[in-house]
Assembly symmetry: none
């Protein structure tokens, strides 16, 4: 059996190498590639993805798994090998259900849709994108049917990003969250608004960059195993666990963009840097799910990066770097400014108190599209109605409304809820961390994140994707994903800032 | 037959995609990769090289070629398709001789060797690199044996870079060259030395970078299809004909390093950028050979970049950028300074009159290593002895001696002689170009390289590797590679500078 296991690992290693190379092709495309490279880059990514897919769904992998499954059941279920067989089998069973003609068509359709979306957004022309999105919704329904029977047509989509998560469970969580978040927003709306005008002064890009790097160095981001570059959209990627890179963008007229982008991506990257090296080049050598990933990025961005404790340590340094802009802004004012709550149009720029409402809106629309209750043609109206209901703002045009996100144009449905689930998981972990490390607040105030990092390494990072996300959360905090700690955090934090 | 040809091209396209991705993995490793990435990078390059190799040496390619060869003979022998079948078949017959396991091992070994070489050079620690180089020499001997019988054990290595060239032929050319080059050096040594002290002042790195980019922009380097980055050792690479990148290094205390490095690499890159786009993703979509490649880089570096005509145009701009350093240095003095002949330690910084002697030394050592007459452990001593014999200088340490070049650490043996052959080809082409464009000298003085570029595109670049290097040279200048124009050029140029 050891021989079969080794053979499986060899094949998975080749798949991982192809995926790592594909990730580098993508990283380069978004950082340094000259425009003339785009055509060949398309061929290269297509060729490598297709090779990786066909290596993985090969009969050889299938028969190795069949032989190894009974053996894996004899092992400690927490052991690497038992988890490897289980996770690989789960991914294999899903992958073989999807015919390669579908994969090809989906890829062709989304390439065209992405181009159409870019044009539609630039020209504020939803009808130009509409037929493409119709085709995508149709293809996503076909996709779901490969996994029939299911409890809900949205389940198979969700499962791609959040293994084991069900639509009903997400809906239940969100139905608890929504009224309370709306209530909080209404309470804030009745209070005086905080000042954040100082964040919109001119901030030199190189100095912003320097501060961000200093901050994430203190977080524990390991520069020997990563680097940061500029890209139009911030992202984290890796080419194996020894090389986990982040990107950010810099706006010289708004301090938040690069700063919180860097802190957020560092959270993702520190997670991947902390996965046990022995899991590298296997399907276990990555974060457990998107929600768990997002729990790390939101923790480093918000629970740390937008906390008072954090800025007790870092604010003097930031003032030193930007004396003209911040010399006369005291810590209290700065803290309130970076935590300003204000309903707005664009998800990626939303504050902590409104962010989830942007997600709920998207989830509901995606479910309605998949169920067939909502036609793509009616999507802009549905979008605007819900924006008004939840946030009290209505986009002046579709470019800042239904066309703002890239996801649908790439065929990605089922992804958005993981952002909100990540917020919840972050706070569940945070509650437990503060029980386990009573002196954490003082440590943060001293710019010392090492005990926190050690805790995360031990309880979350090292395991990679050995455990399903819900199981991992349960192992650590004693129950599955739930909204209470998050709501408590929001109410306490913004209650204090807005004197509710 | 068209169907078979299309099928062959499809497979060659996949091979090209894998090779392009592998090249990016290599570029990244030498420009931006953090140290922690090295282990996975080894796996990735190994996996992709091996996949590329096995796709190329597949039975399907073999049988397509068998079917297509008779058909290709019915076509115009200069046609793309006829050349494609011929060149692919030549490469295929060579490639099938090399087992995939060898290719994979070679990749893995050289990735590690490259890292070890970097450390060894930084710490002046040859023994740290020695076991890696021993492994590489051993692997190269195994490689040669795949091609047995051969006239000389070095022939198979040479043939990889210079199709059709034999060790004996190179030795013959070099034996003609060496006494005449040594004679020229001796004559120069008896004359007063020119002043080049102004080249060793402090030159801001960013401004050097800017001037280099301005110069190669005038040459015709296309930034939409390329970029320049910093690397420890300058090189050119491409990921398809639409993305041809160069690297250079900057020494703030020596103007020549970045400047002539950039001009040199631009010559390589402009060649690749000029290959007909219809040859992309096929074995024809690259330069004809390394010697022909080097003829372009040496032309742009030396025949242009170290010419009086070139600096009539560019010197005022350089003085403007470096007024303190060059404001009081007149053009004549500058021209002589950048053409100073002086035996020195570093090949890439060697002047035109001594350069080939550096190459001859390397060729002889490589042949001795391959023949088994020289042990890797004895290489530093052998290096220093020959430096003393040929150039009359001895490196104070191995970092500036045997460890200076990247090639061996990447497993590249058989490559060095192509540099010298390139010098010869450059001068053969240059003689012809000046016959065909009588006004060239004036054009260069005006910073106008467009007619030169058009000539090179027409006669050399566009053809890619459709023709064997010796055949290409013969097509253009009427005879094969020969040293006379080069020797004539050296004698004339340095005769004038040193008043011989």
């Amino acid at each position: 059996m050891q021989e079969k296991l080794d053979q499986l690992k060899r094949i998975l290693g080749v798949v991982a190498d192809l995926n790592g190379a594909t990730a580098l092709l993508g990283w380069d495309q978004q950082t340094y590639m000259p425009p003339g490279g785009v055509e060949n880059r398309g061929y290269q990514i297509g060729t490598l993805s297709s090779l990786s897919h066909s290596k993985f769904v090969s009969d050889e992998v299938g028969s190795l798994l069949e032989d190894l499954k009974p053996y894996a059941e004899t092992l400690d279920s927490d052991s690497d090998d038992a988890c490897l067989v289980e996770v690989t089998d789960r991914e294999y069973q899903r992958a073989v259900k999807v015919p390669s003609e579908y994969v090809e068509e989906f890829s062709r359709v989304t390439v065209l849709a992405h181009g159409a979306w870019e044009e539609a957004r630039a020209n504020n022309d939803f009808p130009h994108f509409q037929p493409h999105l119709e085709k995508i919704v149709d293809l996503r329904r076909q996709y779901a049917d490969f996994f029939a029977p299911y409890d809900h047509v949205y389940d198979p989509l969700l499962d791609d990003f959040e293994p084991g998560m069900k639509t009903a469970a997400v809906q239940k969580i969100f139905s608890e969250l929504r009224p309370k978040q709306v209530e909080l927003l209404q309470a804030i709306a009745e209070k005086d608004q905080v000042d954040d005008s100082f964040l919109h002064l001119h901030y030199d890009g190189d100095v912003q960059w320097q501060f961000g790097e200093e901050a994430i160095t203190k977080y524990g981001y390991d520069w020997k195993h990563g680097r940061q570059d500029k890209a139009a959209h911030p992202f984290t990627t890796n080419f194996g666990l020894g090389d986990v890179r982040i990107t950010t963008r810099v706006d010289e007229d708004f301090l938040n963009t690069a700063l919180f982008g860097t802190l957020h991506e560092a959270g993702h990257a520190i997670y991947e840097q902390g996965v046990a090296k022995r899991l590298d080049r296997t399907p276990l050598g990555e974060g457990a799910s998107l929600a768990v990933h997002e729990s790390q990025s939101r923790m480093f961005e918000n629970l740390l990066g937008r906390s008072y404790d954090f800025w007790i340590h870092f604010y003097p340094r930031l003032q030193e770097l930007f004396p003209t802009q911040l010399g006369n802004v005291d810590l209290d004012t700065f803290y309130k400014g970076i935590n300003k709550v204000e309903p707005s149009l664009i998800r990626v720029e939303a504050d902590e108190a409104t962010y989830n409402l942007h997600i709920m809106l998207r989830l509901e629309l995606e479910i309605a599209l998949m169920e067939g209750d909502l036609k793509v043609a009616d999507l802009p109206t549905a979008w605007n109605d819900r924006m008004n209901d939840y946030l009290g703002v209505v986009p002046p045009d579709d470019a800042d409304g239904v066309l703002q996100d890239v996801h649908w144009s790439s065929g990605i449905l089922g992804y958005f809820p993981t952002y909100s689930l990540g917020n919840l998981v972050a706070n569940q972990l945070w509650e437990k961390i503060n029980q386990d490390i009573p002196g954490l607040s003082k440590q943060i105030q001293a710019g010392n994140f090492s005990e926190l990092l050690a805790w995360l390494r031990e309880h979350v990072h090292q395991h990679g994707s050995k455990f399903k996300p819900q199981d991992l959360v349960k192992r650590v905090v004693g129950k599955g994903i739930s909204p209470e700690p998050y709501l408590e955090y929001l109410n306490e934090k913004f209650g204090a800032i807005y004197k509710l």
